[in-house]
Subunit: 121 residues, 2 copies
DNA sequence: CGGCCATGTAAGCAACTCCTTAATTAATGA
DNA sequence: TCATTAATTAAGGAGTTGCTTACATGGCCG
């Protein structure tokens, strides 16, 4: 019972939690590429890249079309939308809370100032 | 040389790649809480929660203020902003590419139709 | 001060991650 | 058909993760 969370959101977050995989996605942003082209700039072996691609594929972040002996990769945006939605939802809540907190802090500060200098009234 | 990526973005994504940690953050969205309060609904031990909180703290996602013997946790939004920025940037690029691809596909389809029915000119 | 709290740290274990090299699959072209 | 090219799968190792059960820390109240 260890690090294996299998729900979709966890898979996507996990896939994005690796600099190599993010770099691969960045590379794919500017156009589809073969596994070999992706492996070249990263100073890791071809199989390592293959495994990274499998992780990205499991997370639904890329498609691998086996055309001839060249497997070209393309990107899918849907999982990112889900991630974005999660983040936006929670950030909205938190920001709301922070504004409330800010207000409360301002109130406190004001009250404290009034206490510190009661003659200033 | 294994699973340890130490850059900030990786830390945040990794921290979010666990359902328990996301649930903790959700719980904290509705107000600060102590470690004990957070541990209760999750059916895991207190130390386990403590470790999850450490991960979230390392990623900069929460603050732990040691007030008395109750350590209350509060949320920070800055890391989420970074994550959002990364996602938005890349999704924008991909969407752009998809629109280009769509166009190309429409062009191809049209040309093919013209080839299939040359007399329709 | 000494016994309770709530919490964090340490040690240990099974499962997983990411990398490697070696063997395998699959399509191309002489 | 057989060597070549491109990529994945298999096997194995160093290091992490996430959980557990003890143990240690530090503030509270009798």
């Amino acid at each position: 019972m260890a690090a294996g969370a299998t729900d979709e959101l966890s898979l996507v977050f996990h896939a994005l939690a690796d600099p190599t995989r993010r770099a691969i996605l960045s590379r794919l942003s500017s156009g589809e590429a073969t596994a070999g082209e992706l492996a070249e700039p990263f100073a890791i072996s071809r199989p390592a890249v293959s495994q990274h691609l499998s992780v990205l594929e499991s997370a639904g972040l890329i498609d691998r079309n086996a055309r001839a002996q060249w497997r070209t990769c393309t990107i899918r945006t849907e999982p990112l939308d889900e991630v974005s939605a999660w983040i936006d939802e929670h950030r909205a809540l938190w920001t709301e809370r922070f504004e409330l907190l800010d207000e409360r802090l301002r109130d406190l500060k004001q009250k404290q100032q009034e206490q510190d200098n009661p003659q200033n009234d």
